[in-house]
């Protein structure tokens, strides 16, 4: 019997027509064509009487199914064109939650970077970009760390298998954003208020270290810059980034490229410097900072008799994780790209 074949064709034709429809008027025309008084489906029903009695029931059922299918696809198309759902129960419809558009996620590192940039911008800092694969010279020598110096051990540096440059030494994955300091100075524009945020690499991997990570580096070079200015800028950052009532504290440390050098602490958000279970004596370590060493200024072509400066360079991820509320306990998640992790930010 070829009726079933016809029925299939009718459905296909309808779908094809619906697909091409783009206006409500066109849709209405199709509805009349199929579901109207003289419509295709009505005509089909009238054919039921033309077949032998024993087949009538079966055919009737098939046409009924087709009609239901046809109604379904048509109302679907209508919903798409008009934006109104085909519902009968309006109470239910009105009580539905909204259907959200599919929105993705900007990575937490990008969010952290933007937050940092926004804080330093009003102070006149401008973000710059320097090479991530860099010469050893800019990563160490220019920063007052000669080739044989033990201080270099502190940076677990990745070396690249490439011919060394006569002047600039070996090629490395820059282990810190400080490699941008002398490059910035060599641009020759003074004063300097630089914010260098960049991808770095070190040869370590554990709960608090990953081989790729981001640092943000502030560098200020100007006349009459003193430690109190560094302190002021750090306090400004701390109160904007961590919370209005938070303060920083400087402790002695040593870096070859700053003199004096500091370790920067922030008072614990829980006990505010009194000491509690979560912190060390009321303070948490943020990172390193210092007054730019005269040898670094010299490498950057700047007269240290006339100019002084300060610098700080900290891990973006680490700093962001110290912000209360983030609660990320393993830094490796940040580069793990598990979508169940990423969707939380």
């Amino acid at each position: 019997m070829n009726d079933s074949l016809n029925l299939e064709n009718i459905k296909k034709e309808l779908e094809e027509k619906l697909r091409k429809v783009s206006s409500e008027q066109d849709l209405l025309n199709i509805q009349i064509e199929y579901f109207g008084k003289k419509g295709i489906l009505r005509q089909l029903f009238s054919k039921v009487l033309e077949v032998p009695v024993e087949q009538r029931k079966d055919l009737g059922e098939k046409i009924n199914n087709l009609k239901k299918e046809a109604e379904r696809v048509t109302s679907e198309r209508r919903a798409k064109i008009t934006g109104v759902e085909a519902v009968e129960n309006t109470d239910l419809y009105d009580s539905l939650p909204g259907r959200k558009p599919e929105i993705g996620h900007i990575h937490i590192i990008s969010q952290a970077i933007n937050e940092i940039v926004d804080i330093f911008k009003p102070l006149g800092f401008t973000r710059v970009r320097y090479p991530e694969v860099e010469w050893e010279y800019y990563a160490f020598e220019a920063l007052n760390m000669p080739l044989t110096h033990p201080a270099r051990d502190e940076w677990e540096t990745f070396f690249i298998n490439a011919a060394p440059d006569k002047k600039y030494g070996r090629m490395v994955v820059t282990p810190h954003t400080s490699s941008g300091q002398v490059r910035e100075m060599l641009k020759g524009n003074l004063p300097i208020r630089m914010l260098n945020i960049s991808r770095c690499g070190r040869r370590q991997i554990d709960i608090s270290h990953v081989p790729s990570f981001y640092q943000f580096e502030g560098l200020v070079v100007d006349k009459e810059i003193s430690t109190t200015h560094l302190k002021g800028v750090l306090d400004y950052f701390a109160s904007n980034f961590f919370g209005e009532d938070r303060k920083t504290r400087l402790r002695p440390y040593h870096f070859r490229f700053t003199e004096p050098s500091f370790e920067v602490d922030i008072d614990c958000g829980i006990c505010h410097g009194k000491g509690c279970k979560l912190c060390k004596e009321g303070w948490l370590e943020l990172g390193g900072a210092g007054m730019v060493h005269p040898n670094v200024l010299k490498a950057g072509g700047i007269d240290s008799k006339e100019y002084t400066g300060f610098a700080f360079g900290w891990g973006v991820e680490r700093t962001y994780m110290m912000k209360s509320g983030t609660k990320i306990d393993d830094i490796r998640y940040l580069f793990g790209n598990d979508l169940r992790f990423l969707e939380q930010f």
Binding site: H107, V133, E134, P191, T227, G232, R251, Y253
Partner: protein, 621 residues
């Protein structure tokens, strides 16, 4: 480097009313960070993080010296307890023939021979002190050398004098592949350039500054000991210890520099201690070979500069007193650097650090920057990065961050290789963002049928004789999205960035429903524009319709598009709408800028379109 310092041991040097907690806090704020206080056998043992410039403080003496300056400034009493060192009675009996091949190897070479040594256990107080700093007691002679290293920061070594064949020492650099068995029983093959000592029979008897050799060690039968106290070339020690992977306490101290003037007093004190503990006596003359004369080092005190660096006024008296408390001797407008700080302090900035840290960095007020704001041209690439991120986020994309390094199979031929990778999977720097993004898709299989990912990061292509090309790239990878939709996303991003003529890009099918596109973002930025141009609006209405054509094999979209657009100037907009099998649907808009367009007009235009399209076999459906 962290060092363990028992408080009871410090009290050999200072008398104070400060409690252990007070000491820890004062040290942390003014000198070195005390990481923690360990309670060991009723004692408080400080774990102190000593910075690499302060080799002098890797000892009880060094920390005590700091406390002498620091504690009074933190409100505690602190009295220095001077210890006098006795010069031993030397005897011209046992001799040592010393040949130093290159004076730079060992700036200072000191030794004495002790006879009638009875090797045995050390007294309990010494054993306990060593235990508190993590060193195992090994018998009186060796214990004294270790004790003195912790006490004074001066590593020393004891040889069995009679195992130095010919009583002769030749200090020289190693030859490539020479072999020595060190005290720990390990046979070590040496690279060239390591400082070693050869005896009269040509045997290597010391891996200098790192560890002694097995063949000349002190044992229970030893009768004569050569007590050996040196200053080695720090650079050679460091290089050797690193390349051998043998970082001993001695090496870590030698490479940071030794108090040149402290050598003799350490030697005297050690020999006195050994004599006292083992019933021995000195049986040689003092051997003291000075290969490098050290002149006194003076640094000018620039009070104004110190104040400028601090940002607060610190009076001359306070500056002078501080420096004097730290062992700097005043000499007119300059100070003489104490011998134990010889390598560390050279310029006014160094003095400023000493003065201000003792003043207390935490006492400095904060000031915001004043002065001229730098005139710089902003790097707009950061702006465009944000535009792209936001756009893609709102189209359902997840931003990913991947490591810079990846495995060999993920990179092209011009990839940079890492000499010291963490592992084989991180051997090369990436040359494309896509392979790692595809791995992210595979790693998140069950997450959803439809996944959209992007990453904005640099890739690295090697360049002959220069740093690599490291352009910023935008990588997009999707699953469950069709090609036309992904292309549309990219083109919509171009629109968002004000790119008027699209650069070409390829959507690559990576199988399993995965598609990828990679775009050089730096090049894209060059095409981007923030400028928006306004076209005057007309008061006439346009007419819109959809047209569907049957397109035969071999005809591209662009061919059809061009023909339609060329067939009339009154087509104001032509957009791809849909495709089904070979049926291509356009949305088309007609507009006449001079007058209201009529349906007769559009009919005419349509006719033209059909006629032109017929030439390439395209027909209205």
């Amino acid at each position: 480097m962290n060092v363990l310092i028992p408080y009871s041991w410090i009290k050999d040097y200072i008398k104070t009313n400060a409690k252990a907690e007070n000491v820890a806090k004062a040290l942390s704020l003014h000198a070195f960070s005390v990481e923690k206080i360990n309670k060991i056998k009723g004692d408080d043992v400080f774990e102190v993080e000593v910075t690499p410039n302060r080799g002098d403080a890797l000892s009880v003496l060094g920390v005590a010296r700091e406390l002498k300056a620091v504690l009074p400034r933190s409100g505690f009493k602190c009295e220095w307890m001077q210890k006098d060192v006795k010069i031993p009675q030397f005897e011209d009996k046992d001799k040592l023939d010393v040949i130093i091949k290159d004076k730079s190897l060992v700036p200072r070479f000191c030794a004495v021979v002790l006879e009638n040594v009875k090797v045995g256990k050390s007294p309990k107080v010494i054993e306990e002190r060593l235990e508190k700093v993590g060193i195992r007691a090994l018998g009186n002679v060796i214990d004294v050398t270790n004790y003195m290293m912790m006490d004074k920061g001066q590593p020393m070594h004891a040889f069995d004098y009679d195992k130095i064949l010919g009583h002769k020492m030749i200090v020289r650099e190693s030859k490539h592949d020479e072999v020595i068995t060190t005290l720990d029983g390990v046979e070590r093959k040496l690279p060239s350039g390591v400082i070693v000592i050869e005896d009269g029979e040509g045997r290597l008897i010391d891996l200098c500054g790192i560890m002694g050799a097995k063949n000349s060690e002190v044992d229970e039968n030893t009768n004569k000991v050569l007590l050996f106290v040196q200053v080695y070339d720090p650079v050679r020690i460091r290089r050797a210890s690193m390349s051998l992977g043998h970082r001993t306490d001695a090496a870590l101290r030698f490479e940071k520099g030794i108090d040149y003037e402290g050598v003799l007093s350490s030697l005297f004190e050690a020999s006195e201690m050994i004599c006292g503990l083992s019933g021995s006596n000195v049986s040689s003359n003092l051997i003291d070979i000075v290969n490098e004369e050290r002149k006194l080092k003076s640094v000018a005190v620039d009070y104004e500069k110190i104040n400028r660096i601090a940002g607060v006024e610190i009076s001359k008296e306070v500056v002078n007193q501080t420096l004097s408390d730290l062992g700097f001797e005043s000499k007119g407008e300059s100070v003489v650097v104490p011998s134990w700080r010889y390598d560390d302090v050279s310029i006014t900035e160094d003095l400023a650090e000493e003065v201000i840290r003792l003043y207390g960095y935490y006492n400095l007020p904060g000031k915001l920057l004043t002065g001229e704001v730098p005139l710089v041209h902003k790097d707009l690439s950061f702006h465009w990065e944000d535009v792209a991120r936001l756009f893609l986020k709102h189209d359902g994309f997840f931003e990913c961050y991947s490591y810079s390094a990846t495995s060999k199979k993920n990179v092209s031929k011009d990839a940079l290789e890492i000499i010291n990778p963490l592992n084989e999977d991180l051997l090369f720097l990436k040359t494309s963002l896509l392979p790692q993004l595809l791995e992210v898709i595979d790693g998140n299989k069950g997450y959803s049928d439809k996944i959209k990912l992007f990453e904005l990061a640099s890739v690295y292509h090697s360049k002959e004789g220069d740093l690599p090309n490291q352009p910023l790239m935008l990588g997009l990878v999707t699953k469950g999205i069709n090609k036309v939709d992904l292309k549309g996303i990219v083109e919509a991003l171009f629109d968002e960035m004000g790119v008027s003529s699209y650069p070409s890009f390829n959507v690559i099918n990576h199988g399993g429903g995965r598609l990828g596109v990679e775009i050089n973002f730096e090049e894209l930025i060059k095409l981007s524009s923030k400028v928006k141009t306004y076209t005057p609006l007309t008061s006439f209405n346009s007419i819109k319709e959809d047209l569907t054509f049957e397109v035969p094999e071999g005809i591209t979209y662009q061919q059809v598009e061009r023909i339609i657009l060329c067939s009339s100037e009154r087509i104001s907009k032509l957009e791809f709408k849909d495709i089904y099998k070979n049926a291509l649907t356009f949305s088309i808009e007609y507009l006449d800028k001079e007058k209201q367009i009529s349906s007769e007009d559009t009919q005419e235009i349509r006719k033209n379109i059909f006629k032109s399209l017929e030439n390439i076999g395209v027909r209205l459906r």
